[in-house]
Amino acid sequence: MRYHCRMTRATKDNRKSLRKQLHQVLPKTCILETPEQTIPYESDGLTAYQQKPWMVVLPESIEQVQTIIRLCHKEGVPVVARGAGTGLSGGALPLANGLLLSLAKFNRILDINPANRSATVEPGVRNLAISEAVEKFNLYYAPDPSSQIACTIGGNVAENAGGVHCLKYGLTVHNILQLKIITIDGELITIGSQALDTPGYDLLALMTGSEGMLGIIVEVIVKLLPRPEQAQVILAAFDDVVKAGEAVGAIIAEGIIPAGLEMMDNPAICAAEDYAHAGYPVDAEAILLCELDGTNEEVTEQIQFVENLLTQKGATSLRTSQNTAERLKLWLGRKSAFPAVGRISPDYYCMDGTIPRHQLPFILQKISDLSKEYNLLVANVFHAGDGNLHPLILYDANIEGELERTEEFGGKILELCVKAGGTITGEHGVGKEKIDQMCVQFKSLELQIFHDIKHSFDPQELLNPGKAVPTLHRCAELGGMHVHDGLLPHPELERF
């Protein structure tokens, strides 16, 4: 399938003219345009979708980005921004008739301000590189997506990335202070401020998670947190996935907020252990990883409490990390779990639905039923504490029809999440992948508000068009295929 921006009025001549102008303002090494050069950019972290971009540009300065955007605006050529290309929803999927704007060269940390507990960074700085750079001040940047070794802060903001520790410390939106954005007319604007509150509409929150559809992020000021005095992880094994799910609810119900509370099922445990050698019990049906942090006294007390609680809830074995190295090793397995699944399957499709925590046992059962129905294996990795599911559907793209079956299965899981009172995405964004499920999640009035916001920033729809927010027509067409409880979604819309 080709992903074409249908909205743009740009013609071949427009692109030709843009190409000529780009060659005048950018060094040759910053422009990639032969298929040999552009095909490797056809996917981000979600390989199920592929589209060779018309052209890739790799600017090195804010001025160059402004010029590129101005030229695209003038010629009406759509632009897709890309960071490290680790996203899992196809948010950076290129367009056949659009420009792919890579911000990978913007990888400098511009300022660290320990007194204000903040750091000013360029968008191409890796998430983990921020924490590494501020370690000497005993500070860190809290959101830690599993791909934190490689994913960049610009993409984190664009997708409102979460991570293992967002249960206690919040998502990206809660951990940034200020953004510098280039608007579609090439203007550089600053939103948010160095202070905690800013008058006017909260544009910082609006921009976070906007998936590159409202502006191009060129600078981020992130909040930093002091490293906790103590942090320990409990690894608990269970002989039943549902029991592990119930234990999660029990911990939260006791009023404890772990720094991270994660769950993995047997296939995920085995794959992660094969890479990380973290000492995960490979015979367990499920494991929970529960991190508690704070002062020494607080952690010692809570660890004991949670250990007892987990035993009561049927944990078959417990292990608590005794030092930082052991704690990091236990997290390494979890954080590598997605790609480690590559050891047991050539391809996987990662879902990102959320559910209210008490629905966990119900959803697990349903996913297992669907897995049998579609004859596709599933490895489950969850941010259990905040009800964010990551079922990985294992498939082989070389087998004809398997990807289509996988997508359908994935769609069913997301619809189940909505039915259970949850959402279709917890932290990976909607991108191209979940655009149809947006029709299930929202009514047309809500979608119309999204479109109005988009238009106030980008009336011509040139910034990452076709992602995150479906057109009402798309929902209506899709509605014809998905009849729920005997009702068509969006019955108010005319069918085409």
């Binding site: 490290a84 680790t86 990380a276």
Partner: protein
């Protein structure tokens, strides 16, 4: 990842292997984070994931030009990506196939051909290299600074009086090392003598230079010759072969892979690989500790060569030996990074190589060390040319502290 490799190529053993490796990649991009060239250049095509894609395109029958050749050439083969990859992608083996296939499809410039041929005519031959280096050393006093840095001053070695020991092992002389830094194997003999191991010289090149410059045919000739000579030696109560250059060690340990399709040699290659040890693998630290008067004032930064940490998967060996013996180790940054030496990379890619050296040295200097210790002649020589503190083989430091 989905693959559509051309039918003909897929029928071959190489095609099967390439397909298997490509399919194990899930395109997560973790590898880009630890790739030295991606971190400098920021282009997908200069990171492992992009190179994997370029190779995939080529094997799927897309047009390839100098573009693919250049991006594959720019890879250091440091294999840091393999250490990072959670999916277990054998990038090094895929790159090897990619390089040999691109050579068949794309013509190199005359300049590149001459350079590569020259390297192949000199480097693997210890005598030729020595003559050239000695000529350089003769003119060293009158050479401009930049060239002077590339040519180490001639070293004079004291004569050793070593004992005979029951435990005997071979030591590879290597190709460039005997002329560039004869003091390394000299120090090794001294240290291993103190540990009751006797060393017997084994001359020759490991074959890595030919292999990395895509001269696979000649590489196999060298390798088979080594294997035949080694098998004969191993009959004479020799326990194994010690490597003081981790690059050569990594290459010896690759012999079974390189000869996997050779019925006659594959088992022998396995024997050789199992009897190949990096020097760090045979040191009895407890015993060594008692033989040393450690200079505790010395602050040492350890640069573990890629061939030791990523290829041989022995990331902590040097640090462990030095710290257990009581040496003070300096804090370093970005331990996984390559110094830019990478075999002949410093000659074929001089600009990137110099940038990488600068980056690596700044990471090694964060704790203000007095000295940098490493375990491979390539890294040692390359970093010395840009470092403000001496870069030495760790065994030289230890040898100097042996009790009389």
């Amino acid at each position: 990842m989905q693959t559509k490799i051309k039918h003909d190529f897929l029928q071959s053993e190489k095609g099967q292997l390439a397909d298997k490796i490509l399919r194990s990649c899930v395109h997560c991009g973790f590898c880009t984070a630890t790739c030295p060239t991606y971190q400098i250049l920021g282009d997908e095509l200069d990171g492992p994931r992009g190179r994997i894609y370029l190779i995939k395109q080529m094997l799927e029958g897309h047009t390839v030009t100098k573009e693919t050749l250049n991006h594959l050439d720019r890879c250091l083969t440091c294999r840091a990506c393999e250490t990072t990859c959670p999916s277990g992608v054998e990038y090094g083996h895929l790159l090897e196939i990619g390089r040999s296939e691109v050579e068949k499809r794309v013509k190199r410039s005359l300049l590149q051909k001459v350079l590569r041929k020259t390297l192949l005519l000199i480097l693997p031959f210890p005598k030729r290299f020595a003559v050239l280096l000695q000529t350089g050393q003769l003119f060293r006093p009158v050479l401009p600074g930049i060239l002077k840095k590339q040519i180490p001053a001639k070293t004079r070695l004291t004569k050793l009086s070593l004992k005979n020991h029951k435990t005997k092992m071979l030591i590879l002389d290597g190709c460039a090392q005997p002329a560039l830094a004869p003091e390394i194997n000299h120090a090794t003999r001294k240290v291993l003598d103190a540990l009751d191991i006797e060393l017997v010289s084994f001359s020759g090149c490991c074959g890595a230079i030919n292999q990395h410059l895509s001269d696979e045919e000649k590489a196999l000739v060298i390798i088979k010759n080594n294997i035949d000579r080694l098998i004969a030696e191993f009959d004479n109560d020799i326990e194994g072969i010690v490597m003081t250059a981790s690059g050569c060690g990594a290459m010896f340990k690759e012999y079974p892979h390189l000869l996997r399709n050779d019925e006659h040699y594959k088992n022998k290659a396995e024997i050789i690989a199992n009897k190949t040890f990096d020097l760090t693998e045979i040191i009895n630290t407890e015993k060594l500790k008692n033989k040393l008067n450690v200079n505790k004032n010395l602050n040492i930064a350890v640069h573990t060569p890629c061939t030791l940490q990523h290829a041989q998967k022995l990331p902590l060996n040097i640090e462990n030996i030095l710290s257990s013996c009581g040496y003070q180790l300096s804090t370093i940054k970005d331990k996984h990074l390559c110094c830019g030496s990478a075999g002949t990379y410093s000659i074929t890619q001089p600009e990137l190589s110099a940038q990488l050296r600068e980056q690596r040295l700044s990471g090694l200097m964060v704790g203000q060390p007095d000295m940098i210790a490493t375990a491979n002649i390539g890294c040692l020589h390359h970093m010395n040319a840009g470092s403000t503190v001496p870069v030495r083989h760790w065994v030289e430091i230890v040898a100097e502290n042996l009790k009389p």
